[in-house]
Amino acid sequence: MSWVNLENLMDEFPADKEAVEKLLAYFLSMAGEIDHPKYFSYDRIYNISKIQSSRNLILILHRLVEGGLLEQFVRVENNSAGIGDFPTIDEVPNEIYDFRQDINITITPDKLRLYYKLLPRETHAS
């Protein structure tokens, strides 16, 4: 992801400029430290970022996905535990095996959570 894009991002969300800057610093610093992808729920990013507008946060994260810093995916959760990750909602099956409970469960939309994968810095497009 180029720095120019990051600057554009701050210009695009002037009301959240400071929070965007901090969030980016957090992600970029962590991306430099990790060897394997790190997973963040939307809720966790919301708490880290302090960006009050969920709409703005979604749009900011989308820009980071476009820039290659993050990857968005859908996690199926049952009783607050993740039991399957899927790149898009289309690929989520109607039923899934919950290995923790040893049962098949029917997936309903309320079991889907929004997640982002932070990639190690060397894997980012320059």
Partner: protein, 294 residues
Amino acid sequence: MQASDIAQALLEDLPAIKEDKQLSFVKSKISAIEDADTKTLATAFLLVGMQLGGACVDRHIVLLVHGIRTRGIWQDLVASLLEKHSNVKPVIVGFGYFDLFCFWFPYFFRSTPIEKVEREIRGAMKDNKGAKVSVVAHSFGTYVISRILLSKPDIQLHRLLLCGAIINNNFSWDHLTCFPTGGVINDVGTQDTLPALARTVSWGYGNTGTFGFRTHRVKDRYFNFGHSDFFNTAQIEKYWVPFIVRGEIVESEWSYQRPTPSLWLSVLHLIPMKSIVLPALISSLAYGVYKIFV
């Protein structure tokens, strides 16, 4: 349609779908989106919206601003219909009873309601940081909003719905630095004579509620209505709620079927009533004073 609007529509449809069919429904709607970026974004809005209890976008504050000689009973009806949408919070704004003289007289009185409504908008923005703010305004309320848009460029509205508008025909929509991001609809009543009269008898008003703005920046939508005929449940649910909640413009058939306006209504503003009423009033007062003391 924007990704957030797609997600919002999905969230609103979801409760009516049987639980075991909901995922298939969601998947079919999301996979029907052709653009990959929009699909990713709509998924994000949808999933966050479900966590937030049905609102995929931020809170949407809708201020309802009434006209003159009314306490705006319609505001309660519109509020009750908007409240059904989880992310929408209607706010009823009143500026008290505004009589005909205050309406007519061009100085002193108009600033009070403008300041009151501006305070309400700022208060709503402060209390709901990050929320979008839209306005539904009727009659004199449309004039009030137009003055605020013109003089307070830091107030950014999302959507603006006008009815019974008396905003000046030459209002500079093009020059607004804070033009509502989600657009402006002007619901015109072709039987509404009050805006035409307002333009004729006083200063600063227009007959835009009778004839429309006829500009590319504002969508004029015509109905076979008088000044306050817009306020019924069917009308609000069919035409107002889709625009305010989703930005969807439902066309009115009357826009294409309406007859040519009557000649007298069209030329009413040419009659120099302003130049007659004010001198007449001053002359009457002077005569009254003269009769008392002489």
